[in-house]
């Protein structure tokens, strides 16, 4: 009791002494677990704050737009890579479906990105500068280069329906454009991880090591799944492999985040984010299993079921990480507790005690 009075927040009006409002039951929920950093125990759950209010500002982004944009960007990048592979190995059906997926996802992701701007009409201001210190700036430039390439490659699929004079030009540019897109495509799938990691949001910033791998793998799962679901079973073998590999790596990265982040990982398993990530986990596992089965049986139905499950799993994972980030920014605990620990540690070791 006296300890809680010493360390607790100063909120007294409604009798809150030790904790932020509504937090009591949660504290120490993962108490038995060792925090990742240096193997210390879980940091003290008690912390002080200004009336339990957040220190940080939560992102102003709409989850539909921005989590959707992360998901679609992943589909776009992965599909462009699959399209190039299909093109080079003569899998015409797979090439067609992945080229169409790439251009559709790119278009939608750009639309979502622009729609989320406070001033959509000023989107072009993004192209005033190129700043390596801003993943959003770098990403916008990557997407701006990527979009026309996948568009030309997709036009190549609709060659017959194009007006006569453009037809030979598109036919000549189709393959080079599709191959050129593969230079940017991998970055399209992973830069969004750097984008959210480069914020003060505790879950995102602390997971900066895993997020690019997690997002890249999630992109492979989604695009592999989509390609498997939309192409003939005879051609879908590489798509299945990509989808399954993505699913496995995504699960491993997700587990690594939970382990390494300690108490900061709590929002990933609570509330809306927790539900999304649980759904993502099961959906991704089911999808990978179904596609593995289909690899043996070559079944269209299994491809569609497994592929759809992988696509859904990737979408849920992005939504889960998005919402967990927002929660970790809103609740002062995830900002104050790790920083207080760090500050106390620095005070103990440095400056002569």
């Amino acid at each position: 009791m006296s300890a809680s009075e010493q360390h607790g927040s100063e909120v007294r009006r409604d009798g809150l002494h030790g904790t932020a409002p509504g937090r009591e039951a949660r504290i120490g929920a993962r108490g038995g677990r060792k925090a990742g950093r240096g193997g210390e125990m879980v940091p003290p759950a008690e912390f002080r704050s200004y009336y339990g209010r957040s220190v940080l500002k939560a992102p102003v982004w709409e989850s539909r737009d921005i989590a959707g944009y992360f998901f679609l960007g992943g589909v776009a990048g992965g599909s462009a890579l699959l399209a190039a592979g299909a093109d080079l190995t003569g899998r015409i059906g797979l090439r067609r479906s992945t080229r169409v997926a790439a251009v559709a996802a790119t278009g939608l992701s750009l639309a979502a990105l622009i729609h989320d701007l406070g001033r959509p009409g000023r989107f072009v201001h993004m192209l005033r500068v190129l700043k390596p210190s801003s993943p959003m700036s770098v990403g916008t430039w990557i997407l701006s280069g990527f979009a026309p390439l996948v568009a030309v490659a997709a036009l190549d699929e609709a060659r017959e329906r194009l007006p006569g004079p453009v037809r030979p030009m598109i036919a000549a540019l189709g393959r080079p454009s599709g191959l050129a897109a593969t230079v940017l495509a991998p970055a399209v799938t992973t830069y969004t991880g750097a984008l959210i990691a480069d914020t003060a949001v505790p879950v995102w910033h602390d997971a900066r090591r895993e997020l690019p791998y997690l997002f890249g793998a999630s992109a492979l799962a989604a695009s592999g799944g989509l390609a498997a679901a939309t192409s003939a079973p005879g051609e879908a073998a590489p798509a299945r492999v990509v989808g399954i590999a993505g699913a496995l790596v995504e699960q491993a990265c997700d587990r690594a985040v939970h382990k390494r982040l300690g108490m900061v990982a709590e929002p990933l398993s609570q509330g809306r984010a927790g539900r999304y990530l649980t759904a993502a986990r099961w959906s991704t596992r089911a999808g990978a299993a179904l596609l593995a089965l289909s690899a043996l049986r070559r079944s269209r139905a299994l491809d569609i079921a497994g592929g759809t499950a992988l696509v859904a799993g990737s979408l849920f994972a992005r939504l889960g990480y998005f919402h967990a980030g927002a929660t970790s920014a809103t609740e002062p605990r995830y900002t104050v507790v790790p920083q207080r620990e760090r500050a106390d540690h620095a005070a103990k070791t440095g400056a002569g005690g």
């Binding site: 939560a58 989320d116 406070g118 991998p186 970055a187 890249g216 592999g224 920083q339």
Partner: protein, 320 residues
Amino acid sequence: MSDDNPPRMGFFTDTSVCIGCKACEVACKEWNAIPDDGLSLLGMSYDNTGMLGADTWRHVAFIEQDKPLGRQNNAVIAMPTGATATHASAEAVHEGLGQKHGSELGTETGAIRPGPLPGGPMPAPVTPDGRKELRWLMASDVCKHCTHAACLDVCPTGSLLRTEFGTVIVQEDICNGCGYCVPACPYGVIDQRKDDGRVWKCTMCYDRLTAGQEPACAKACPTDSIQYGVLDDLRERAAHRVENLHDAGVLEARLYGADPDDGVGGAGAFFLLLDEPEVYGFPPDPVVTTRDLPRTWKHTALAAVGVAATVAAAFLGARR
């Protein structure tokens, strides 16, 4: 920076002399023509702005604690509570004023010796929840104008920029409302104005600075809790102030944001606090997010290579 630039200017907010009058909030709103964002009773002592935001560029925090301030012995503990026109209170006042009776202000006699009342029991707690002492912390929060500013680093349009005074401002004709700076700020300062779409924050009254004036909040502050000046001078002055307070027994006095070696390279607006930063709603050990970006980029590039290699391997393996 070239030599003809003015020196880096800053704010030193000495919360130990803040009286919570909110003149800074009002002056800021008036000078910068910031729209109304509600005036509500939040149940947080006298705070009715809550936190910094797009339309609150100065925010006065109020914290009530049952602690004495330094060696100060809170007068209420020694005074009889209840009605004042009693024999007991007259005794207490007489005791305090000593020889000088009512001829001088009590504060100038130096004779008040707070303590238990002679003969009586310890006074009852002054509040129903048992507090016997009260200190009231007030602090005027503002954008920190960081040396390494995350908002400026992540801005994809170049709308956020550093001025010749070393401050950080938003160019409102450039901002397209992408919102990246909002979660990037380690102090939760910058925010989006909902009906407008763009982000807004303290400019340290850039327009006034260019005309050789001090910012509106510093001008309006009646106790000089907000001091504006050359940052180096302010840091020196602040260090002296901390020493003085320590000598006066206010051992909890500390500077926040004054260290050029901290996670943001030192703040252009720093504070003298009387408790831990988180009590005022500040992050205890903020770090500019872009400090870790080079390593994040490396992981991003590695991950991209991994993605490409996975797809390539899938096609090579499936070819047969």
